[in-house]
């Protein structure tokens, strides 16, 4: 009988916390829909925001848990003033999701960049302190089986919501002079938050001068879509630098990946669709003027560029150096098929690793394919200070052969430059970037 009584007592205990969810005490001063600011100028943002919101530089903005801009239908605009710092709360894995139909207008300046960072004290920060920035758009993705689904929509990693649609020219707003640091909480296997995830984002979006630093997972990942980007700096990551999958067809010029000495997997990781290699629309972006820097002294730092799972890509004026496993690997039959069709072409790509190629049994020779491309070479890359984790200089040394000879794709998006790699005479990474390790 005693056990019965104990059971009943426990039951009474349980019954108490049944339904009651209403008691959330409110000590804040100003409160609007999901935003509350206190006397110390800290504004906490949480939940779903469906009214336009401006984050001003005079306040500290704290993202508590998942913060979702918009309701996936109507437009909500999040405007962030230059010089504003937004903190992702570490204890609740704060993250910011821009939903479809809504926009982020984060338009900083070289002197007053917009910074998304960890809520921890500077000096104690580390990778994965908070979630990251996720932008969901209405451009096409290939995650569905093409014949059966008219408009393909997909559900983002880590509960980041739906993305994809039928408008490749869709706009999700502006990211200019923006830094995202110490983000990338690992949620579960296959559920990693990237520094910035562009999920089905359209070409109407402006992305220029963006740095992702000390992210636990990939720096920038494109899930389908057609968004274009310029001046992208990705530093000291836990995983891959720039990653794409599920049908990205955008353009990118002036991109740098620099791995840290303690972590990092591949510089570029490029997939079409890892479950169905022929899925359409196929990943086939255009990239020009990219510098990919490994960390020769570290245990990780595997591959400079891994092209696989059926991706296509047009890569021009690229420098790859310092990777331990190899500079270039191409995997899977569907990817090699794109070499023959012309959807995968490399021109003016220079490789400088101890081993430049990974050759797998039963697959065509990567080296032969590479050397067949115009201007491709295995040669020394003479950057001023490529491997310095604190004060790198990505510029080419004076008099370098690589300062000329490049040819950008014939498209108005691409600035016509002659140099190979991401940085020419002018160092666009000056002033607004960081290399702080904690």
């Amino acid at each position: 009988m005693r056990s019965l009584l104990v059971a009943l007592a426990m039951l009474a205990g349980c019954a108490g916390d049944d339904v009651d969810t209403s008691d959330t005490s409110d000590t804040s001063h100003e409160t609007t829909d999901g935003v509350s600011c206190d006397d110390d100028n800290v504004c906490t943002v949480s939940g779903v925001i469906t009214e336009n919101l401006t984050m001003t530089a005079d306040k500290m903005w704290l993202l508590r848990g998942g913060v979702f801009i918009g309701d996936d239908i109507n437009e909500t605009v999040l405007t962030i003033e230059p010089g504003t710092t937004v903190y992702g709360e570490s204890a609740t894995d704060g993250m910011l999701v821009i939903r479809r139909g809504s926009r982020i207008e984060a338009d900083g300046t070289a002197d007053a960049p917009i910074v998304f960072t960890s809520s921890k004290e500077p000096g104690t920060r580390s990778r994965g302190d908070w979630g990251g920035l996720i932008i969901n758009g209405r451009a096409t993705v290939n995650s569905c089986i093409e014949e059966e689904v008219e408009t393909c929509e997909a559900y983002g990693e880590g509960g980041t919501g739906w993305y994809g649609g039928d408008d490749d020219a869709d706009s999700s707003g502006t990211l200019r002079y923006v830094r995202v640091e110490f983000a990338g909480t690992l949620i579960s296997p296959d559920n990693e938050l990237n520094g910035i995830a562009f999920q089905g984002v359209g070409s109407g979006t402006t992305v220029d001068y963006v740095q992702v630093h000390m992210n636990a997972d990939d720096g920038v990942e494109f899930f389908g879509g057609a968004v274009n980007a310029k001046h992208i700096l990705v530093t000291a990551l836990g995983d891959d630098g720039i990653d794409w999958t599920d049908g990205w067809r955008g353009k990118l010029q002036f991109g740098i990946v620099q791995q840290g000495s303690d972590a990092g997997d591949n510089g570029l990781e490029a997939d079409n669709n890892a479950e169905a290699n022929d899925a359409a629309p196929m990943s086939e972006p255009w990239l020009s003027n990219v510098t990919v820097i490994g960390s020769p002294d570290s245990e990780s730092s595997d591959l400079g560029m891994l092209l696989r799972e059926g991706t296509g890509v047009h890569l021009a004026n690229v420098l790859v150096t310092g990777f331990n496993e190899a500079c270039l690997d191409v995997d899977h039959d569907a990817t090699f098929a794109n070499v023959d069709s012309g959807a995968l072409e490399l021109t003016n790509v220079i490789l400088d690793c101890a081993t430049n190629f990974i050759e797998d049994e039963g697959e065509p020779s990567v080296e032969e394919g590479f050397l067949a491309g115009e201007g491709n070479a295995e040669a020394a890359i003479d950057l001023v200070s490529a491997f310095d984790p604190i004060a790198p200089d990505y510029q080419l040394e004076e008099g370098s052969d690589l300062l000329t000879g490049g040819a950008v794709p014939d498209d108005a998006f691409f600035e016509s430059v002659e140099f190979l790699g991401a940085v020419g005479a002018e160092d666009w990474t000056a002033t607004w970037t960081t290399h702080a390790s904690n």
Partner: protein
């Protein structure tokens, strides 16, 4: 044993009082009265009192009156109402086991009788059959029943419908589940030694819970005996490929052999206190909570070093059970008592290769990952039962039963092999300890007055699951050096604590009254039922994060975790303990169901029986998924409230004494599970894909039609042929969502149909004494029509887990001193995993099993059994298109058992 026939008719009978037959039963040797002997005539029964006297309530007329009891020859005399009869019995020469299970629900014949009497279509398996087939838990026993298959060794699929469509009751009361993502009780939790029978009700009826899909598994605990009773069993077994194999294991605690952790795996107190109301993490700029790096180092160093994958030898399986019971007469009050204990332990060592495929160039399947799994499980089950029954006069029965069943799996697993994403080898090791427990306390009563009968029940039960201190770590193989390096990926360096508790109150009141008897009889029944369920799930995750440069040092990352996670390297510059509890790990849920029902039961000339009834059921379900440390964040709440009207009707035509046809129609429903309703994304703590629920889910409505012809050539024989059709409106199905990780969600599918035929027989073979054959076959066709919401390859396919055919065959011989039987089971191909983005479904190919048993009576209440399990040991093959995903043999086994029944 012709006695049975007459006896069994008695068991079910209930008769109005009349003049009757009286008499006395005496021992022919010494003239002493024989107490508590059975007497029967027509369909009346009685027991002799302390003077050996009896009275039978029968209608006026002439009867054959039969008397029997233990250790005496039975005797039948002609008698007339009003007559006084005296029986003198002689002691029996033979050791007859006639009486055991006479009134108990354990024997085949009683269950067959019950099936014949039932309103709807039922099938059953009793303890007698289970004992013979040697299935030690309820799940194993269920695969012998027509149209049932058992998935993962624990969930029962009735008529090809997934476990969500099979509800379980124990003595008529609903049960909670210890599984966080499910509602049903895994049946392997219940030792068969504590059960008397399982009846599978395949037709919904007004008096049964409205949530009814393929069937209701109605379990009954062991009956309170009618006389002193004692039974002890000992068993042992060995399995090829497991027993005496060296395999992997974690470090053991002192009480592990009982399946009780006993605190060995508890989180250190300092960490419990530190993380009681905040996560174990460094503080930030905006709060005064959190810990410093040196405090976190201390917490990390307090974590016991249980990271070593050790070696252990699997021992033979062992089992022990004890059951005792008695009955006491106190005037006209009879008190019965029963107690049972059961303990068993088993070992399982498996090694299997599993291949994964993706759709590569030109639509061809291409290998992706390929892992070798090594898995070792030591399972301990403990069960206890205590029951009393009180019969006051002839009108009042009270029963109380308490049952506790627990099952503990001590599991170690390593999988190692090629990972396509990494383009290299990984090794993931895991140690886990899972305790599942069900407690069940029930009080029930029946009261009779004239033609009316009132019965009621109340049960309080709790299901719990505890998984303390799961450890998981991943190592990646460095291609150049071959070194295995600790990986900081999400499955790396993890420590998980997870607990679930589900409390269930279940109360019911049923009233029946026989308003009219004779050529046209009428019985009206009605009742009320109420169920309240409260569940809470509490999970904490921690990991050793590679925080600083020391963790990445080549010599450190190549260490075994038991060397790396030591004070030397747990450091702000090395590994740091941090909390990784997810936002959706914790939830509480409740369900309330209230129901009222009534039914009318009309008999015509004892040939026809018409039953029509209806049930109204109201249900409220709510799930709150909350973030432990974000109190401002409103929990993700999902709610569902429905009221349903569920009519049912059945017609039985007894066109011959031993033959009948029945037809039934019923409407039933299927509600979403708690987690299926909640939009919060979660990963099953038991592993598996990321899943999120759908708050817009509707409950599904099922229309069920059954038809069955049944023939009972004798009391232990039966033949039946049946057909069924079910139409599902808005069935709840899992779909694969378009996403990088192929998440799972649920939707109401457009519809589904399930149609099938079932054949079953149990027949003695006349020309050899004791020889019998039994078998069943179910052929089921199911088709689900999915909306185009997902990326599953097939939108029209059989339900997942459903075999198109299931069959059982049993041949045996039953002699006085020995018996022997062969059991064969075959299930058709079934989908184990739904394919997505053009990849075919993963299908488990048909597999057969053959078991055998021989039993001997050794005298003095001793009996000995020998079993052969899985004798043909077939290859299990899982295929995807043309490719083999997995192929393995389970291994054959032998078992020895000794039973001692000093009293029965």
């Amino acid at each position: 044993m012709p006695l049975f026939l007459a006896l069994l008719q008695v068991v079910m009978a209930q008769e109005a009082p009349s003049q009757g037959i009286s008499g006395q039963v005496l021992n022919a040797a010494d003239g002493q009265p024989l107490v508590d002997f059975w007497v029967m005539a027509g369909d009346a029964e009685a027991r002799t009192d302390a003077e050996g006297r009896f009275h039978l309530d029968v209608r006026p007329g002439e009867y054959e009156v039969t008397v029997f009891g233990p250790e005496f020859e039975s005797l039948t005399l002609p008698g007339r109402t009003g007559q006084e009869l005296t029986f003198e019995l002689f002691a029996s020469e033979e050791e007859v086991l006639v009486i055991e299970g006479l009134k108990s629900k354990e024997t085949t014949s009683v269950l067959l009788e019950e099936r014949q009497e039932a309103v709807g279509v039922t099938d059953a398996i009793g303890a007698e059959q289970i004992r013979r087939s040697g299935d030690s838990n309820a799940a194993g026993a269920m695969k012998r029943v027509t149209g049932l298959s058992v998935v993962d060794g624990r969930y029962v699929y009735v008529r090809g419908l997934g476990e969500r469509y099979s509800a379980t009751t124990l003595n008529g009361s609903t049960l909670p589940s210890p599984e966080p993502e499910r509602r049903v009780v895994p049946l392997d939790l219940l030792p068969t030694g504590l059960l008397s029978s399982v009846v599978v009700q395949k037709t919904a009826e007004a008096n049964l819970p409205g949530e009814f899909g393929g069937g209701l598994l109605s379990l009954r605990t062991k009956d309170v005996p009618d006389r002193p009773f004692a039974r002890m069993t000992l068993s042992t077994g060995a399995q090829w490929g497991s027993t005496f194999q060296k395999s992997i294991a974690g470090s053991a605690g002192p009480t592990d052999f009982l399946g009780i952790d006993g605190g060995h795996r508890d989180l250190p107190d300092s960490i419990v206190q530190a993380s009681a109301d905040q996560p174990l993490a460094e503080g930030d700029m905006f709060s005064d909570r959190g810990y410093s790096a040196s405090e976190l180092e201390e917490f990390g160093e307090a974590i016991p070093n249980r990271w070593k994958m050790k070696e252990r030898m699997a021992l033979p399986d062992m089992g022990l059970s004890l059951a005792l019971g008695n009955r006491y007469n106190l005037g006209d009050t009879r008190l019965g008592l029963i107690g049972g204990l059961s303990y068993d332990t088993s070992w399982d060592v498996d090694e299997v290769d599993r291949n994964y495929f993706i759709v590569g160039a030109n639509g061809a399947l291409e290998p992706s990952h390929s892992y070798h799994f090594e898995e070792s499980t030591h399972r301990v089950r403990l069960g206890g039962l205590l029951g009393t029954s009180l019969r006051i006069g002839e009108s009042h029965d009270l029963d109380w039963v308490s049952l506790v069943a627990r099952q503990t799996d001590d599991e170690a697993r390593i999988y190692e092999g090629y990972n396509r994403d990494l383009d290299g080898d990984i090794r993931v090791s895991r140690l886990r300890w899972v305790e599942r427990m069900l407690q069940f306390h029930q009080l029930r009563g029946t009261h009779r007055a004239g033609p009316a009968e009132v019965s009621w029940r109340y049960a309080l039960s709790n299901a719990s699951r505890g998984e303390p201190d799961q450890r998981e770590w991943r190592q990646d193989k460095e291609a150049s050096t071959g070194a295995w390096r600790l990986s900081d990926r999400p499955e790396g360096n993890q420590i998980l604590y997870s607990g679930l508790s589900d409390w269930n109150h279940d109360a019911g009141l049923d009233v029946a009254s026989k308003l009219r008897e004779g050529k046209v009889s009428l019985t009206v029944r009605g009742g009320l039922a109420f169920t309240a369920k409260n569940r809470s799930v509490d999970t904490r995750r921690y990991k050793f994060e590679s925080k600083g440069s020391m963790a990445g040092r080549p010599d450190v990352s190549a260490m075994d975790p038991s060397e790396a996670f030591t004070p030397d390297y747990i450091d702000p510059d090395g590994f740091q303990l941090s909390e990784t509890t997810r936002q959706t790990d914790n939830y509480s849920a409740l369900q309330r169901i209230g129901a009222a029902w009534t039914s009318f039961d009309v008999g015509l000339n004892e040939k026809w029986r018409f039953v029509a009834g209806a049930r109204v059921e109201q249900s409220v379900q709510q799930v709150d998924t909350f973030e432990l440390f974000n109190p401002d964040q409103e929990p993700v709440v999902a709610e569902s409230q429905t009221t349903d009207f569920l009519p049912s009707t059945a017609v039985t035509w007894n066109f011959r004494d031993d033959m009948l046809v029945r037809v039934g129609y019923a409407r039933s429903l299927n509600r979403p599970d708690f987690r299926e309703l909640s939009p919060a994304t979660f990963n099953d703590v038991t592993g598996g894909r990321e899943t999120y629920g759908n708050p817009d889910l509707e409950r599904a409505i099922l229309d069920n039609v059954d038809l069955r012809w049944e023939w009972y050539p004798s009391d232990e024989e039966s033949v039946s042929f049946g057909a069924f059709y079910k139409h599902f409106q808005d069935p709840i199905e899992e779909i694969v969502v378009v996403s990088a990780a192929h998440s799972i969600t649920y939707e109401n599918a457009l519809g589904a149909d399930n149609v099938g035929v079932e054949v079953e027989f149990r027949k003695s073979i006349p020309w050899v004494s004791g020889l019998y054959a039994a078998g069943n076959l179910a052929v089921i066709h199911s088709q689900i029509h999915l909306d185009e919401g997902g990326i599953q390859t097939d939108s029209d396919r059989p339900l997942q887990g459903q075999s198109p055919y299931l069959t059982n065959l049993e041949i045996g011989m039953d002699r006085d001193r020995w018996d022997v039987a062969l059991f064969w089971n075959l299930s058709g191909p079934r989908i184990t995993e739904v394919g997505a983005v053009g990849a075919p479904n993963v299908v488990e190919q048909p597999v057969a099993s053959l078991d055998a048993m021989v039993g001997f009576g050794l005298g003095h209440g001793l009996s000995f059994t020998m079993r052969g399990k899985n004798l043909i040991d077939p290859v299990h093959r899982l295929t995807q298109g043309e490719e083999t995903v997995e192929s393995f043999r389970e291994g054959w086994g032998i078992g020895l058992g000794l039973a001692w029944t000093p009293l029965e």
